[in-house]
């Protein structure tokens, strides 16, 4: 007799029907194990996705530096002096720290009226350098023009890159590229349309840093610095970098070395690395819990198989007396075990994924983060390989759990087997 035959399957289903409760219990422990594994791993992933998506408005290795007031008198300067960053400070930092990859100064102006024809609005105007696009991960899709470039900078051109919100409000579906908008009474040509923040409530306009310095009377100065840094993977390295950055800048601006509040530093990488560390710990923790649930499922399957085989010893004896070979019986037990674990494992998987979807939906509605607000839960997903491996482990353990007691039962002499009750 072949191992896998339609008749064998039919035979197995008739025995499964005979003991619905047992079949259900075996199946349930498998389904539950897989279900929990998926829900746990998926939630962990969702949490991680949600939190890390909050970093995605910036490059994760971004450093933002801004000037504040001094708090201590130093080298003839009084306390409470307002600091300003100069162009040469940025050059100095770039030369001093090889970790700095991209760099841009920014001049931020709020509440400027921008108008096109009859349409107008108040938007943030940012004077930035070409690197700013990569630092803030802005996106200008093909056909939407370009970002500020070096020629704009050197020629102090009056060009502007607007974001989707500004385009929607001012142009109302009209093609903005090549058109002129008025910013504070000065005409700027639109050269690019930025779409990354298309869901954002706020409108932004980006003009060349040099142009902003001239127009807004900040020649030689900048409001803040933005950098991206490379080659630092640990929080410790990032901390050390932040400290060195403060010291260097303090010396250049003649600020007391202990006056740490005078210069603001936001090192995204420091936070990011730390957060991701927490998450990999959570992931590991969740994985271990999932694994333990799976083990419980395996033990459940094993237990029930042992009882099953014991219960059916007499039936096996009868079947052997009328001509079933040991392998006939062994095969039917094993196939039964595989079918139950396989089918219920699949059910558990589907339910688990369904639950994750539901959870995702509820969380999204509950936190009201349909837009760009901070997220805690996003795209919960499980590595399909993990699911398949888990199901495989369950089936294999069902096989093993069935195999050993079944082999023993099958090798009992039929007379003895039939005597069993």
């Amino acid at each position: 007799m072949k191992f896998f035959e339609f008749d064998t399957i039919r035979e197995i289903f008739s025995t499964m029907r005979q003991s619905k409760l047992r079949t259900f219990l075996t199946g349930f422990s498998v389904a539950w194990g897989i279900f929990m594994l998926i829900v746990l791993l998926g939630s962990g992933k969702g949490l991680q996705n949600g939190v890390s998506s909050n970093f995605s408005n910036y490059a994760v290795n971004m450093v933002n530096v801004w000037p504040r007031r001094t708090n201590m008198p130093y080298k003839g300067f009084k306390a409470y002096r307002r600091l300003r960053f100069r162009d040469q400070d940025m050059e100095m930092l770039k030369n001093h720290f090889p970790q700095i990859d991209k760099a841009s100064g920014i001049i931020s102006l709020y509440g400027n009226t921008v108008s096109y024809g009859k349409e107008y609005g108040n938007y943030g105007i940012n004077g930035v350098m070409p690197d700013y696009k990569d630092i803030r991960m802005l996106s200008i899709e093909a056909g939407n023009g370009r970002f500020i470039n070096n020629i704009d900078m050197s020629e102090e051109r009056k060009v502007v890159v607007i974001n989707q919100r500004v385009a929607d409000n001012l142009f109302r579906g009209e093609e903005p590229l090549g058109k002129y908008v008025q910013i504070g009474g000065i005409a700027f040509m639109v050269v690019g349309l930025e779409t990354k923040t298309s869901n954002d409530e706020n409108g932004y306009c980006y003009i060349p840093h040099s142009t902003a310095q001239t127009i807004y009377n900040r020649r030689g100065y900048t409001d803040e610095f933005y950098f991206t840094v490379t080659g630092m993977d640990s929080p410790e390295a990032n901390e050390a970098f932040t400290l060195a950055l403060r010291k260097t800048l303090a010396r250049s601006l003649i600020v007391h070395p202990d006056d740490t509040a005078a210069i603001g530093v936001w090192n995204m990488a420091e936070n990011y690395v730390q957060t991701m560390r927490i998450f990999s710990t959570i992931q590991l923790f969740v994985f271990i819990i999932g694994l333990c649930t799976l083990v419980a499922g395996i033990v459940g399957v094993g237990n029930i198989m042992v009882i099953t085989v014991k219960e059916r010893t007499r039936e096996f004896g009868i079947k052997k007396a009328i001509g079933a070979s040991p392998s006939n019986i062994l095969n039917s037990i094993l196939i039964e075990s595989v079918i139950i674990t396989g089918v219920f494992g699949y059910i558990g998987m589907v339910l688990g994924i369904g639950t994750l979807e539901l959870l995702s939906l509820i969380m999204e509605n509950a936190t009201g983060t349909g837009g760009d607000g901070p997220k805690v839960f996003l795209n919960p997903s499980v590595d399909l390989n993990i699911v398949l491996v888990a199901t495989g482990i369950l089936i294999a353990s069902g096989l093993l759990a069935g195999y050993f007691p079944a082999r023993r039962a099958v090798n009992i002499k039929p007379v003895e087997a039939m005597r069993a009750e």
Partner: protein, 252 residues
């Protein structure tokens, strides 16, 4: 009744020309334990094809053990057992299953039907292990149910049937694989006298078709229907007689 000498001195027409279907030589079996139980002692026995034999004896005489050994359901310690000329000794369960399926049909006191299968499926089951297709074996099962007069009951489950009906279904199941030997262990032990007669008649009918039939029983009336009666006592063959119904009738 005439006393017959046992194996070796059997009349020519019984042991040689028809051929020894079953041949036991100095067969011994002991159940191990704190006090080992020597249940079969130097059994010599020859049963030819087509014989109708009753094995009788008090409980504990070893009659069921003998039947189990004959049916390859149990093994023995020393001696020889030849079934259709083949030595049955130290067989693997797989080999034993093949012999059982090919040669032997069993009828048990407790019927041993599978409770979650209906009459037809129960009868058809041995053919499943022979690899016969479902359609074919169900058709055959219905034929054999017809033979035992229960065709109309094919869809009933064992718990919906009387003891006599169950035993007839068990006999149909034993017959369906066309065995050379039917081994019945107290087939009427759980039946009343009327159904006992039905079952015994069925077995006689089976034997009339040329199938070697061996019945273990402690009921005289059942044994009387057979053609040869073997008495066991304390593991020995006490007597082995040809049962001639006419003689019995005369002696009355």
């Amino acid at each position: 009744m005439r006393q017959l000498p046992i194996e070796g001195q059997l009349p020519f027409y019984l042991s040689k020309s028809i051929g020894g279907m079953i041949l036991l030589e100095k067969l011994n079996k002991t159940y191990p334990g704190v006090q080992p139980l020597h249940v079969l002692k130097d059994i010599d026995l020859s049963i030819s094809q087509g014989e109708y034999v009753a094995i009788m004896g008090a409980s504990g005489s070893g009659k069921s053990t003998l039947l189990n050994v004959l049916g390859i359901l149990d093994d023995y310690d020393t001696g020889r057992y030849l079934l259709d000329g083949k030595l049955i000794a130290g067989l693997s369960e797989k080999k034993a299953a093949i012999y059982r399926n090919k040669m032997i049909g069993f009828v048990f006191q407790s019927f041993n039907l599978i409770s979650f299968k209906n009459a037809m499926e129960n009868v058809a089951l041995p053919l499943f292990y022979k690899g016969v297709s479902r359609k074919k074996r169900n058709q055959l099962a219905l034929e054999y149910l017809e033979k035992v007069g229960l065709r109309d009951w094919w869809h009933h489950y064992p718990n919906e049937l009387s003891g006599g009906q169950k035993q007839r279904i068990a006999i149909a199941r034993a017959l369906i694989s066309q065995p050379r030997i039917i081994l019945a262990d107290e087939p009427t032990g759980a039946l009343d006298s009327r159904t006992t007669d039905e079952v015994i008649q069925l077995l006689s009918q089976v034997n009339a078709e040329g199938i070697t039939t061996i019945v273990v029983t402690h009921e005289r009336s059942v044994a009387e229907q057979t053609k040869r009666i073997i008495h066991l006592k304390d593991g020995y063959i006490e007597s082995d007689n040809i049962n001639i119904p006419s003689l019995t009738a005369c002696s009355k």
